[in-house]
């Protein structure tokens, strides 16, 4: 299954699923319609203006791009197989992401809506827990913090075992 490969990356980017440029939500969504798909689900993870009660100025994302892009591709391929998706697209941004801008976009399309919703959550949960991408929060008071880390290891005792929302 190579549906997840169909979306063309911006010419400036060398990684299919990682982008240092603003994510082009409109063209990504435009590429996600499929005659066999009755349901399209899009998730956009965006910078909030607050985190743990503190005012956020912006976020900055860092990634080990080569690994991250390959891992996202593998997650998409697994989701396509598991839910027989017609389309699965995901891109994560690196660098500074302003409030209201998208840090990550996941789009899934399937004949019926159950599969598109479930697969979409599965993909974003796995990206957030497993893929080497890190968020640094810059607060309006001038401080910064590498934050929102995956803490699953405290529960599972294993850096490779996670607690996923889609399983609960």
């Amino acid at each position: 299954m190579t549906s997840s490969r169909l979306y063309p990356p911006a010419a400036e980017d060398s990684f299919l699923h990682i982008s240092s440029l603003p994510l082009e939500i409109v063209s990504m969504l435009a590429s996600a319609h499929h005659p066999g798909a009755g349901a399209v689900v899009l998730f956009s993870g965006e910078t909030r203006n607050n985190s743990h009660g503190r005012d956020v100025d912006y976020l900055e994302y860092e990634a080990k791009e080569s690994m991250a892009s390959k891992m996202i591709g593998d997650i998409l391929d697994e989701a396509v197989k598991k839910w027989r998706l017609k389309i699965a697209i995901a891109r994560h941004r690196t660098g500074k992401v302003a409030v209201c801008e998208s840090a990550v976009i996941v789009i899934t399309a399937s004949p019926h809506r159950s599969e598109a919703y479930e697969a979409n959550r599965y993909i974003i949960d796995r990206i957030k827990h497993e893929v080497p991408i890190w968020k640094c929060e810059y607060f309006t008071d001038g401080t910064k913090e590498w934050g929102g880390n995956c803490n699953c290891q405290k529960v599972t005792g294993d850096a490779n075992k996670h607690v996923y929302e889609w399983e609960t």
Binding site: A63, V104, I127, K128, E130, P132, I133, K135, W146
Partner: protein, 77 residues
């Protein structure tokens, strides 16, 4: 061999550095890093290691020309 660190690890180590000592496994590398910076112990314990873009376990045998990435817990999206 070359070591690359990311994200919060950059507050404990240089972004990229050479290990000159003879180090045969990830476990031995970990010991060398703890020796360099004992404060990083808790964090290092949470990290995964990758060699040439693939995750490896503590017993992985290192070659002198390997590039080792230390991967802190993810916080994407």
């Amino acid at each position: 061999m070359k070591v690359q660190v990311y994200a919060v690890l950059k507050e404990y180590f240089h972004n990229e550095f050479e290990i000159d000592q003879s180090v045969n496994t990830i476990r031995e590398l970990n010991a060398v890093l703890l020796d360099q910076n004992p404060v990083a112990e808790k964090l290092l314990h949470l990290c995964r290691f990758a060699v040439n873009d693939e995750f490896v376990d503590n017993n992985f045998q290192l070659n002198p020309d390997d590039v080792i990435s230390i991967i802190p817990p993810s916080s994407g999206g």
